[in-house]
Structure formats: C-alpha cells, structure tokens
Symmetry: D2
Subunit: 145 residues, 4 copies
C-alpha cells in the first residue's frame, strides 16, 4: 500500500526472534495497531544486545537514545498470530547504529512490515555521544549487511 | 509483601502459556509494571479460548466483558526474562467464569504474582448476559479446579 | 455486573485528575480495555505524589512497590471520551498505603469502574520496607477518608 | 541528534491537542519511550477527525489504514510533563493523507520530536482504497500547509 518501499524477504535479515502477540496488540479495528510494531523493534534489538553481552539495562555506562524511527506497513497482522522479527544492521558509525527490522507471519517469507531505528549511544549521566564500546561494536558488526 | 495471599505453585494450575517479555514491560523502576500482568492475563485467557474453538474475536455472537480483576504481587520480574502463565477456572456460572492466573519465572516453581478475572459473557449487540455456549463451557470445564 | 461492589459517587473521593483517553485505550471490542484502567490508577497516584513533593521518580530514596491491585467495572468507556479519576486513601500504615480510585465519565456522577492498589514503600537499593517519609505521610493523610 | 531533520516551531502547525503523559509512558531509562510518541500521533489525528465529524470508529464505512510512520527525536520528555501535539496535513491525494505531527513541551516553542504518518482510506469490509469522503476531505484541507 506504500509506493515508497517494497516488502523484504526473510533471506535479507541476519537475526530472528519469534514474537508472541498479545490481546492488547489489536486495536479497535481488530488488527495490530501501527504503534505496536515499534515495541517489537525495541524488543528484538535490546534482547539481541543483552544476549550478546553488549548491553545491561541497569548497569551499562552507556544508553542507546533513539533518534529516528520509521516503518512501512504492507499487510495486516492480528493477535493471536505467531510472528518472527528479522533484524540486521545497515550502518555502524562512531556512536550510532542504524538497525533494520522486519516482521513476518510465522509461515510467510515476505514481510508484513519493515522499518528501521537509529540509536545514538550516549554516556548515561552526561547524555553525550560516546564511541561504541567493543562488545557493542562486535555485536552489531555480526549483523551488518 | 501482602498478608492476604500466599504464592501458589505450578502444580495448582491446569494450563500454561510461555510469556515473552518486551522492552516496554519495564517501567521507570526497571521492573515489569503492575499493569502489564493484566495484559498477560488477557492474553493467556483469550489465546486458550480461541485455540479451543470457544471464541472468535471478530465473529462470535458473544463477547466476554471483564467485570472484576485482581492481582497480588510477590516478587519482581523484568524484561528480558522468560515466564510462564498458569491458568485455571475456579467457577463457571450460567453466564460468568472466574479465571485464576499466575506468573512464574521460567525456572521458578513459586508464582511471582497471581490473580483472577471474572468474565460475564454477553450478546455482542445487546450487551445482555447470555448462557455460556457449549464450546465455551466445555473449554472452561477442562480447567476447573 | 458484579454482585460484590456497587458503584461509588464523586462525593466519596477527595482528589480528581482529568483523564485524556487515547486511541490505543480501545481494544478489539471498541471499548477501553480492562488493563488500561490500571495505567490510569498509576498515573493519578504518582502525579498526586509528585505534585505534593512526596515523590521524585529518579531521586527519591524510596520506591513504591505495588503489592495488590483490584478493579470492578460497571459500565463501558471508550476513546475519545473525557474522564475524571477520583482518588482517596483508605489506610496508611507504617510502610504501606491503600489508595482507592474511581473513574467517572466527564458528565457522570456514578463511577464506571473503581478499585484500589496497595503500595509498600521500600528503600530503592535494599528493597526493604521503610517508614513513610513525612512528606509522603502528609500527602496521603490529606486524602484519608 | 539527527542530521536529517531540524526541529520545527509551533507556528508551523495548524491544530493543537494538549497531551497528558502517563506513568507508563516512561521506560526503564526514565524518559518517554520512542514508541509512545506514535500513540500520541494516533490520538491527535483520530480525535481531530472524530471531532470534525469525518470519522466514526464503529460506524464509518471507511477505515484509515496506516501505511507509513516516521519520527525524529530531538530532546527527551518524561512523565509527568504536560505537552502539546501539533498537527498539519502535507498532502491529500485521492485515497491517502499525509499527516505531520510534532510534540512540544508545554512551555517550549521548539519541537522535542516530529514525524508523519500516511493513512490510506479503505472500505471497511473489502479493504480496498476509496476516494476521501467529503467530510474527511474538508477536515484535512483545513489543516493543509
């Protein structure tokens, strides 16, 4: 339904997380609300970084601030569907990373929605950008396309 | 932390659903917010009813209206923990069902939180209580304690 | 719809906060989901405590842990309705407070839903219960019934 | 924090809705989570359309499907701040509208975040695009820049 993007395939992504939908994901139109996709983006990225030893929500000296998010929606999803979130890294700069994400129905090879978000990593206290720590850089490089 | 309830064990429940936590489940105190437990209650009950053929969100002639909810919290949970939700039925009346729910850390036998909610089943249009349809009664009887 | 509680009137509450509903408050049935009421309870209690100088989310030495929540639902609400949340304090112990809350349609004198939650105040680091600090005790005593 | 966009001023928007923050808007980092901004976008657009007589969530023959969303974040917000959402229309085609939104702290003239979303209006049953009905076209034209 958008002229500006065409739906990706699973093979274009490097890491996957199964996503469990919830009753509250459906809005008054009976499908997953557009906002919810971004909570899945947050979940897959942070779960990957935590599992990789690159992020500790409470203790890390750095915090990832989201400076840009974007999503294109191609087909409707609805609770109680099972989904998979795909993740890859398009760019890793000195302090920032552009993560790209897509949502696939459990049996689908074509994305129902895809988007990106850009994290700038800052010092937790000063909120000033800092270079990506080595564990974080290693984790994101593993998903670079 | 509550004098009024003591934490249940897994063996006291009849049906389980693994629960995937999300980044947004954690609040400003870094643990799962008290509100989120209820969205898991909604999810496990509705997923069970849909999988049992007892509910179709869009098409069923009946709708379950929630008339009472309750939860006691015993220990903190936090994303990215894996959890299991336990479910059982304490009472099934002419038009209403009392569901009881508990949340367990993936490796825990004792509940971190437990509660209940009461559904009154009503006609979708008139919002008047109706007798439980046979498929719904059969589904809830299977989880009766 | 519940035999166990009857709907309160505005005059039974001591403090009110107007509540703005959101698109996402409505669920697949087109009314405010039962879970959302609890996010309003959290909002009115914390906004009152912060405005009273009794709580600083980031800096307070204490944290309020929710150990019990409850809600009875009498009539449906839906975005884009305007609401008022009523608040009162039923009990203030050494370390705990029982807050009682009710939701009123902007033009209604009778509650659409009402409930309570119990906060135990703990030391932020040790998570051990502590006596209510004077500013907090003063704030809750002002709403005692 | 983004090179790609610069923060707008209030004078660049045509319609404003005060936004009440909630406890649950803050995430584990103590600021409003990036996802929440989109729930405000949904709220201001739908509240405007409903108040204009251009949309009835339950009864309208048409449904607005979101096909693209985007947001740039410039400065952090946090509950219990008061905000204003600004809204304008950048483009209205045969079946689609591009809404542009910005969030302002109650005392700020510069946006903390801004973005857009694109609605394609479809027939509720067939999900096929339809021409904007006259009441909807009039409502969006009033906010055209």
């Amino acid at each position: 339904m958008s002229e500006r993007a065409s739906a990706h395939k699973r093979a274009q992504y490097r890491h996957f997380l199964p996503i469990q939908t919830r009753w509250s994901d459906n809005d008054a139109y009976g499908h997953v609300n557009n906002v919810v996709y971004y909570s899945w983006f947050d979940t897959v990225v942070n779960e990957y970084l935590i599992a990789s030893g690159a992020l500790d929500i409470q203790a890390s000296a750095i915090v990832g601030l989201v400076v840009e998010t974007h999503c294109n929606y191609f087909s409707e999803l609805a609770f109680p569907q099972r989904l998979d979130a795909g993740m890859r890294v398009a760019h890793a700069g000195r302090s920032s990373v552009r993560y790209e994400l897509a949502l696939f129905g459990a049996d689908a090879d074509t994305a129902s929605a895809q988007g990106h978000f850009v994290h700038v990593y800052v010092d937790r206290a000063s909120r000033r950008p800092v270079p990506l720590p080595p564990a974080l850089r290693a984790a994101v490089e593993r998903l670079r396309i």
